[in-house]
């Protein structure tokens, strides 16, 4: 009930947009080749649910794998960069450069190097998603209060203890903000990776829908991609909530 009330505005706005779109398509008689009406998309979605589900499953598993690796990698990288400042100066620019490579140029190379299996797609998902998490984690560490650091240092805490007891807890909020940004991109990244070469997946489905001139199926796949992403973000929220020590208590600040 409470949840429903909370997301009601979102549902209302979404419904209004869909209604306007449907009306526009019907009234203006837009060719479904260009812009299918929401009802067309829904029909296509239902008619092809079996096939789409298969592709979605494939994309979801690539994403799950890639995103987990990405979180782990971002965390480990943030730890390494935190502890070894010259490494930060050495690697951070390279990480930035890695983000500036248009995937369109990189993806085909990945396929050539790593084949058609899971690996290249996973790597592309990692490439797309690790960076916002890394930036967020580092900015989270930077948020550690000097008072807390000083206190612990005065207790003779080593670098590791400082990290575990101050930097890491200070970065909690920033970490989840980064996770939300990355999580938003994870599914799209997987789809994109599939676009560059795969046997199955929503990306392949979109490509083939497009090459068969089926805009309705393209949009149906978009809907599925959104649903998958919202699901992933829901999981992230759940983890944030479950890991919140103050869950039972009043909000801290």
């Amino acid at each position: 009930m409470e949840t429903l009330r909370r997301i009601l505005p979102a549902l209302l706005i979404a419904a209004a947009i869909l209604a306007a779109w449907e009306l526009y398509c019907v009234r203006a008689g837009v060719s479904p080749l260009l812009l299918p009406a929401p009802s067309d998309v829904a029909r296509a979605l239902v008619a092809n649910r079996g096939e789409i589900a298969g592709h979605a499953l494939s994309t979801a598993s690539v994403t799950a794998l890639g995103f987990s690796v990405s979180v782990a990698f971002a965390f480990l990288a943030s730890v390494a960069l935190h502890f070894v400042p010259p490494l930060e100066r050495g690697l951070m620019p390279l990480f930035v450069v890695s983000q500036t490579v248009p995937l369109i140029a990189l993806a085909p190379l990945m396929i050539l190097w790593f084949g058609f299996g899971l690996l290249p797609k996973m790597l592309l998902v990692v490439l797309v998603t690790f960076f916002p998490m890394l930036v967020s984690l580092l900015s989270g560490y930077a948020r550690a209060a000097q008072d807390h650091l000083d206190l612990l240092a005065s207790m003779g805490a080593g670098k590791v203890a400082l990290f575990r007891r101050v930097y890491l807890p200070s970065a909690r909020a920033a970490f989840f903000a980064g996770l939300r940004i990355s999580g938003t991109y994870a599914i799209v990244a997987a789809i994109f990776a599939e676009y560059a070469g795969a046997r199955r997946g929503i990306g392949i489905f979109i490509l083939s829908a497009k090459n068969n001139f089926r805009a309705d199926l393209v949009l149906a796949a978009v809907v599925v991609s959104s649903v998958l992403t919202l699901g992933l973000l829901g999981v992230v929220r759940l983890i944030e909530w479950l890991s919140d020590r103050r869950r039972g208590h009043h909000a801290p600040r």
Binding site: H148, L152, S154, M155, R165, R245, P252
Partner: protein
């Protein structure tokens, strides 16, 4: 014996503390008083090994004649603010120092738990810092400091947020504890009554630049100090604080 020799602290062009030397005797309480802003906290932070980034210091620190590098486990420290961690419960905050020193979670918790009632903190164990009053938070910070075993202990206005009675209770508890477990204490305080009642020695700082202008041992045992003698001493200290030492 902990000895500071010729400590000078500077912030860019300004000299905050100049050529300050002091001794901290084992098992005795030294109170450091001085006008607000004279450099007490800076001295304490330097001793604790956490001088702020903007400041530079020169000086020697030795324990029993051996130079030491800081932070040193032989020196405990309670900051002027409480510096409680908002993401830890009160019990966890209190146990933090022990855990950092290597104690297990459970043994650390077991060591701090019995002290909560005496500190008037019973029942707050599972609360978070923002659910406590200022004075309660300060007592948690004191508890966190005092449970650590360290030969010397630096306290920066540890009871400033306490009412007269709670303050007195904490002082008595502290003295009893020191009786059982002697340590060298350096305590910054603005409460001259506190200084005269518990100190074995009072150091008076003047400002601009910060330096020690009086070193007053109080030889009378604490129990034997008469209210009248203490009042005189307080008056004297006050006059020192009022004096204009600017050279």
């Amino acid at each position: 014996m902990l000895r500071v020799e010729a400590l000078t602290v500077t912030a860019r062009e300004r000299t905050l503390v100049e050529n300050l030397s002091l001794d901290l005797e084992d098992g005795r309480i030294t109170c450091l008083i001085g006008p607000s802003g004279c450099g007490k906290t800076s001295v304490i932070k330097w001793l604790a090994g956490i001088l702020p980034a903007g400041l530079a210091a020169a000086g020697k620190l030795a324990i029993d004649g051996r130079d030491i590098s800081r932070p040193d486990p032989a020196i405990g420290y309670q900051p002027q603010g409480d510096a409680l961690f908002p993401w830890l419960t009160i019990a966890e905050n209190a146990a933090l120092g022990l855990e950092v020193a290597g104690a297990s979670r459970t043994s650390a918790r077991a060591r701090v738990a019995p002290l909560f009632p005496a500190f008037g903190l019973a029942g707050t164990e599972e609360l978070f810092p923002d659910q406590l009053s200022g004075g309660m938070r300060q007592r948690v910070a004191f508890l966190r400091t005092i449970v650590r075993q360290s030969r010397f202990i630096l306290l920066d206005e540890p009871f400033s947020a306490l009412d007269a009675v709670t303050r007195m209770r904490m002082q008595l508890w502290f003295l009893a504890r020191l009786e059982a477990e002697p340590r060298g204490v350096l305590m910054v305080t603005h409460d001259l009554r506190e200084a005269t009642e518990i100190a074995d020695r009072v150091l008076v700082m003047a400002a601009a630049p910060g330096r020690i202008v009086a070193d007053i041992p109080i030889e009378t045992p604490r129990a034997a100090r008469s209210e009248a003698a203490l009042a005189d001493l307080r008056q004297f200290l006050k006059s020192l604080l009022l004096e204009d030492f600017s050279s």
